[in-house]
């Protein structure tokens, strides 16, 4: 499997440590790993969004909206609007919304071809990562 990790250090000028929008509404103490099918990769400002359907253990489907950073920051990190398509099966590392609603902040996403992309969340190190649930 080809794994290409796109980081700020490799492809772009240093990403600012500051952010326009606060990400305090996301849980900094844990992450969840979501395996799902992309319904839409939304290339918009102020932030991009990844919409995915995640199959539940009971066979039902739960929809998640995953917030990313500004597409301008993502472009400077090497992202392009056609990198993810509806129907792609992806694995997303997500800081969940504290309200418990099916949404989160996308920290990284692994594409079907194995590429792992990061949207350049400012101060990403402040989000504690927890192992994926089996």
């Amino acid at each position: 499997m080809r794994v290409l990790l796109i980081t700020a250090a490799l492809l772009a000028p240093a990403a600012p440590a500051l952010a326009h929008h606060s990400f305090a509404m996301y849980d900094h103490t844990r992450t969840v790993t979501l395996k799902g099918e992309v319904t839409k990769f939304q290339w918009t400002n102020p932030h991009g969004y990844l919409e995915i359907d995640v199959k539940q253990r009971d066979g039902s489907t739960k929809h998640y909206s995953l917030e990313m950073t500004s597409i301008n920051m993502m472009m400077r990190l090497g992202w392009r609007s056609n990198m993810i398509k509806a129907g792609d099966l992806v694995v997303a590392t997500v800081s969940p919304l504290l309200t418990g609603e099916p949404a989160g902040l996308l920290l990284d996403v692994t594409l079907p071809d194995g590429r792992k992309l990061e949207p350049g969340v400012p101060a990403v190190g402040t989000f504690k990562r927890t192992p994926p649930e089996e």
């Binding site: 240093a14 600012p16 500051l18 326009h20 606060s22 319904t39 102020p46 969004y49 500004s70 949404a103």
Partner: protein, 253 residues
């Protein structure tokens, strides 16, 4: 006759030299900020440029405004700790205004044209215009806005800028200010590809004394600023002024 010729030549040369205006340095083009965290240079910035921007000064607020300022900062800290951040202007997709625009969280562009230097900040497509070699207006003659009214002049290699007319809701890191606030900038190259903006904020109503912020940028020779339109702003300010987010696909393409 010979004496007269020399005299004419000397006068012509003197007039010619006097009329020859020194060309300002070329600061046109795209720049990226380095040395975030209130002016402290990152290790990366030092390594690349060999220049370290000075640490920005902290404002000293007069007692009458101290409580409002400190309460605001404490409320922001508490709200963030609770995971319910107080909504800033950004939540409404509003730009920084002055002077925070020069903080350039996203790349910034300077355009030099006759009589004007234009500054564009990529985020929120912010634009300010610095009119050159014009007298500043009276504060009461400028309608308050995000970017105010800026005039500038080149003093040697430094662009000296004076800005007035910033509306009260446009604040530098939540610092209150009065309509008497004046922003003075010294924009100058410290190396061929390194630009500093020394921003001094004066406000005799709110501040005990002026203070100076240092913004440092390095040139991005191959970069063209990208467009930035707030096309699908899912974040919003609720009735309590807290930042919230609409969950679910909004249908935007």
């Amino acid at each position: 006759m010979r004496i007269l010729s020399f005299s004419v030549l000397a006068i012509v040369c003197a007039v010619s030299l006097g009329a020859q205006k020194r060309e300002p340095p070329n600061i046109s083009g795209a720049w990226e900020r380095y040395g975030f965290n209130l002016g402290q240079a990152t290790a990366d910035g030092q390594r690349r440029d060999g220049t370290v921007p000075p640490r920005s000064e902290q404002p000293v607020v007069k007692p009458a405004f101290q409580k409002e300022y400190q309460d605001r900062l404490a409320a922001i800290r508490d709200a963030n700790a609770k995971g319910a951040p107080i909504a800033s202007n950004y939540v409404d997709c509003l730009g920084d205004g002055m002077p925070l625009m020069m903080g350039a969280m996203f790349p910034i562009e300077f355009l030099q044209s006759p009589g004007q230097v234009t500054v564009i900040e990529e985020a929120f497509t912010q634009v300010r215009r610095i009119k050159l070699d014009q007298p500043q207006k009276k504060i009461e003659d400028v309608e308050p806005g995000f970017y105010g009214h800026s005039v500038g002049r080149w003093e040697g290699d430094t662009l000296m800028v004076d800005t007035i007319g910033i509306k009260e809701s446009i604040r530098y890191n939540n610092l209150p200010h009065s309509d008497q606030m004046r922003i003075k900038e010294k924009i100058h190259l410290v190396a061929p590809n390194v630009l500093w903006d020394e921003v001094t904020i004066e406000d005799a109503v709110v501040l005990e004394k002026p203070f100076t912020i240092y913004y440092a940028y390095r040139r991005m020779p191959a970069y063209t600023l990208l467009e930035y339109i707030c096309e699908d702003n899912r974040e919003f300010k609720d009735a309590n002024g807290i930042q919230q987010i609409r969950v679910g696909d909004t249908g935007k393409k």
